[in-house]
Symmetry: C2
Subunit: 343 residues, 2 copies
DNA sequence: CAAAGCATCCAAAGCGCTTTGAATTTCTCA
DNA sequence: TGAGAAATTCAAAGCGCTTTGGATGCTTTG
């Protein structure tokens, strides 16, 4: 059933039917009711492409996930993010279009999004330091919001970020206060802006106490379980091993835990661990008492908030850009305790 | 830049330019070259909506993820699946559109996909027993393939499935051969077809040895880490606890592991564990020696294969339906060993 | 009571592409 | 060389919707 057919059944013009369906005022309430009834009866809904052609909008929002050729993996954190965003899209009649693409082709995808009119805007994921994609999106004129920020880019754009630096500074301070002096940092890829900021927070805490940085205690890579495991094992094998670990993802923290367990070390007693917890639904940080002491910020909430920002921006392009910095909560679990006194 | 503008620059008709760009034969090679050059120079790519309107196709494939209101979560396994599918879409110029929707609204989404022409086909995820969505998709005439199968539905449709029953029968046999007699099953939601089949496989193995089923050893729920933990704890607290566990997901297996560890039980010596391993990129089952003995089947590969099936089906609707049943590999890791003799 | 205003409705153009059917040009080869 | 075939190109219709710019009839109001 299309508009033409529907209007013929009703004995009305396509104009009137279209207006009635789209809530315009220049149609009487009685005919509007009739039109809505007949439309529902025939299960009518407008063809998205035709509507889009006429309006110049797609009612879709793009997410492009770079799928690097070296480490081809889709971050599970992304799953929770889009779960949040998906709610917002459903409520606002937007579609979500996902492009999983070799990172070298990412620019092409954004350009195609614009020239082909596939989407009305995009959410930029995983900003790097000096990220070139921001200038690209500005250049091609595709509305966007950023999940995170990009150090080194000073143009003005909308973003929502967690205060990673403060989070990791606080977490480090927490461990220092417990007497830990050697703290391993198991960080994400430090080309990523969030990881860079976390490292800065870690450094802040150390330098505030005039402690020097030991590069033997720093690891940075894709935040897999295996990375957490291997980093921990390596660091514990060093002559002067850390007594605590600060981990960038609960996924890697699971690997840390495995490494400790394998050596018969008890978490929270022999070795302390703090992790960043994105609140992943399938990897909840314990039921009642948290397994890990953690800096927590729900990535699902971030998905919700960011998609709302983008939808608002698309509907009202002249509104001022929005920036939101979320503080994390530092919740104490069973993975931390006083530094063991070297007896 | 649009077709009209491009054809004016070239001094050719839109017809010719369109044909040249789409590879039709009725245009000379010399003009085609010229057209392609100018198109590239002006960074032309056709408006997707206009093209879709004209051709009646969207070049998009839908995935709808039910987001149940009780347990609102997007399965991380899904992330790896779409990573595989995304590769195929990118190679075939399809877009992936994702709809995350309350499960009660799932039918509406499929109907809207069809009437609005949002997508050319869908991949059906997480089939349940007697799944009503299959009949729905057949009724509305939206091409689809199923990731899994639906017991109780005997209509003919395309699917790709893992041989879950055989996998769990083999895994159970493996444990039985090691002398285990009480094996806990930590299964997914048994309304899900895959979980039902896994349970059948488990039962097959037991009944083949004339062993009876103990419902105290059966657990079924969403496959979170927490579920693995709580199930294990509960079962181990029973008077006659299991000596081995069969787990439906590596995520829950992590919870099993945590529960064991907490009690000071060593995996592979005190208690054996076999898990199903979907080959998730961020939760790899160990680097060299697998952590868990596992029945393994890459969900990313499944994503690749299924999306290829669907693309083929869309391009050639008259081709016969495809069915593919994948056997799993049972790889031995460090989580299994002979049943402890009750000394 | 005529003119103005208002509420309703409609015809037709236009969004940017593909494709049909026809026109034009270029080849072939008797 | 010229007619028919083949190759190349084009004008225009059509995909299903929105929206502009009227039209039409009804109600007010001076």
């Amino acid at each position: 059933m299309n508009l033409k057919g529907l209007s013929e059944i009703l004995g009305l013009s396509q104009t009137t039917v279209s207006r009635a369906l789209n809530g315009y005022p220049e149609v009487s309430e009685t005919t509007r009711k009739k039109i809505l009834a007949v439309a529902a009866e025939h299960n009518y809904s407008p063809n998205a492409r035709a509507k889009g052609l006429a309006t110049g909008r797609s009612n879709a929002i793009g997410h492009v996930i770079p799928n690097a050729t070296q480490h081809e993996m889709v971050n599970p954190i992304f799953g929770d993010f889009i779960a949040g965003a998906g709610e917002v899209y459903a409520a606002n009649n937007y579609e979500m279009v996902l492009s999983i693409v070799a990172d070298v082709d990412e620019e092409k995808v954004y350009r195609a999004f614009k020239t082909r009119g596939t989407v009305d805007g995009v959410i930029l994921h995983g900003p790097k330091m000096n990220d070139t994609r921001i200038a690209l999106l500005e250049e091609i004129g595709l509305p966007f919001v950023v999940h995170g920020r990009a150090s080194g880019i000073d143009s003005d754009y909308s973003w929502l970020d967690v205060n990673n630096r403060s989070a990791f500074r606080r977490a480090t301070d927490f461990l220092l206060d417990l007497g830990h002096r050697r703290i391993g940092l198991i960080n994400g890829l430090e080309t990523m802006d969030f990881a860079y900021r976390r490292r800065r927070g870690y450094e802040d805490a150390l330098t505030a106490r005039s402690m020097s940085l030991d590069t033997d205690l720093l690891r940075t890579d894709e935040m897999t379980e295996g990375f957490g495991y291997s980093s921990t094992t390596e660091m514990l094998n060093q002559p002067n091993p850390p007594t605590a670990f600060l981990v960038s993802s609960i996924i890697s923290a699971l690997g840390v835990r495995r490494a400790l367990e394998e050596r018969g070390l008890q978490m929270g007693r022999d070795v302390s661990v703090i992790t960043f917890d994105d609140g992943l639904s399938y990897l909840a940080n314990g039921a009642d008492v948290p397994i890990f002491t953690a800096t927590r910020s729900s990535v699902r909430d971030a998905g919700r908030a960011l998609s709302e920002m983008l939808v608002a921006q698309i509907n009202n392009p002249d509104a001022p850009l929005q920036k939101r910095l979320l503080e994390v909560e530092l919740t104490v679990g069973r993975s931390t305790g006083p530094a063991p006194t070297s007896a």
